[in-house]
Symmetry: C2
Subunit: 307 residues, 2 copies
């Protein structure tokens, strides 16, 4: 049986895209970890069940959403059979056989799936052109809003906005911005979380030219939500450098309203400075306009490590 699954430490795009694509593919939606508060809010809001937690790829057909990197999937990923990928990230996977692959540089994986739906072309990736119900439209809309930070992220495109409006119609959401703020506020239970929980809201390990690099991100509506926990988070990532073989671990506290991120740096400080062409005063820096790990953090690091 085929499972549609997003990345480890799933964000809302991974969860919602898995649910929606599984619906169109007649497959099972799956997840590789606990839902974050935002994803919980979304599923509750539209009355949908959590995808099934899977722990092995053995004997499964897999269709990936929202990632194209083995390190972001199950440890025994190679024991499954990879059928396809729908994504909006860089390519970080190699295969031994041709598969279905559709990726576009847009704001979310949910956008790519929604475009296939509205064009009536889900069959080009092996799906059925079924009718989109309000609940699935709602989770797809939520994933677009989440990944694009209400279209404020530099990864957002006009297509994301256009699709979100069509989805909102079907989902019965009359005010996208109001719903988006409600969703982001639900996400921002950051204030109630432990430093460890905050670090793992959206954490991803990367293999960069053989070096292990970790990047976590938390989005807040106001920096004060995390102010008292920054030191503890810094200690946690410093510890990861010592104990888990990382070359560098970054943690981004992204202020959605100010449109910038405070970056906490652990490990190879001078690598960070070279990659971002700046000087650190201490162990962190606020970078104005920095919103996207994928578009603004991973590329300069990949480039740095490949040299």
């Amino acid at each position: 049986m085929m499972y549609v699954v997003g990345h480890k430490n799933p964000d809302s795009d991974s969860i919602c895209s898995a649910i929606a694509l599984a619906y169109f593919l007649d497959a099972f939606p799956a997840r590789l970890g606990e839902l974050n508060p935002e994803s919980q809010f979304i599923l509750k809001r539209f009355g949908l069940m959590e995808p099934e937690l899977i722990k092995t790829a053995k004997g499964k057909e897999l269709f990936l959403v929202d990632h194209a990197e083995k390190s972001q999937n199950l440890d025994d990923f190679d024991k499954g059979k990879l059928i396809g990928i729908i994504d909006h990230h860089k390519i970080g996977i190699s295969t031994t056989e041709p598969i279905i692959y559709l990726s576009k540089p847009v704001g979310s994986t949910a956008s790519v799936i929604s475009e296939l739906y509205f064009r009536g072309i889900l069959d080009i990736i092996g799906g059925k052109n079924k009718e989109l119900k309000a609940d699935i439209a709602g989770v797809l809309l939520s994933a677009i809003l989440s990944d694009t930070l209400l279209f404020k992220s530099p990864t957002a495109t006009p297509l994301d906005k256009e699709l979100a409006e069509k989805l909102a119609d079907i989902a019965g959401i009359s005010d996208i911005t109001a719903y988006g703020m409600e969703m982001l506020t639900a996400k921002s239970t950051v204030g109630k979380m432990t430093p460890e929980e905050i670090l793992h809201i959206d954490y991803k390990p990367f293999d960069m030219s053989g070096k292990k690099v970790g990047i976590g991100q938390a989005e807040v509506i106001d920096m004060s939500e995390v102010a008292s926990k920054k030191e503890a988070i810094q200690n946690l990532i410093d510890e990861m450098i010592e104990k888990e073989g990382y070359d560098m671990v970054l943690f981004l506290v992204t202020d959605i309203m100010k449109e910038g991120s405070e970056v906490l740096v652990a490990g190879n400080k001078s690598s960070f400075e070279t990659a971002f062409e700046l000087k650190l005063d201490g162990k962190s820096v606020f970078i104005d306009g920095l919103m996207s790990r994928k578009k603004q953090v991973v590329p300069p690091l990949e480039k740095y490590y490949s040299n």
Copy 2:
């Protein structure tokens, strides 16, 4: 300016797909090597010009067709800007940023492009839904027939055949089989070629878990066309092992009518035997049913080398 380009040692799918996709993307079609006799026949038949030979990626935007491996593109590939990929091969490329990627396990890249055209959805990969003229339909049809060996290859799918029939209508080809045989016969000027030319009709180097492996293929309608040249080809690939750092070089003489291939083996003979679960008597073996390098030769070798 954007260039649409197929792989090194271009086959007809690489040439024809570059021409067709460049038309829809308002880009330049390009090639990375000389046209084989079959591609020459096709372009002459439909009155189209050769794509431009390019020698550097520097300063160019690149859209790849029919391959997703750096080793099959220009040596300075990284100096160009990769925009997208349309393909039907395994994934063997990584990127530092999201790109447009559409790949499907079908018989040819031309099939993927043709499907986008007939569905009126070329815009999903950044193209325009322009009208398909007889000449472009003709080259797309030819590429499908070439890559699927008139639908006899195990890589051929019902979609390839369905698209070929629609393309034939537009191209004014009333008998697909008759045209295909004419094209394959044009290709089979193998009899007039030198061993060196035969070896390079369709030769590809691969990086398999760090080892260099080369696989060439020539298709013939009758084995007698190459009988007198097999020994010389064997000598050439033996020489490549000694001088060019290859671990293994294979040369497939594929008999289209008999539906099987004679495989000449140079280098690590026991690796070949293990990967294909057979014993060689001498340096070559005829394998019944073996038609596709991509589907039947590369996967067992990739698997073998990754262990």
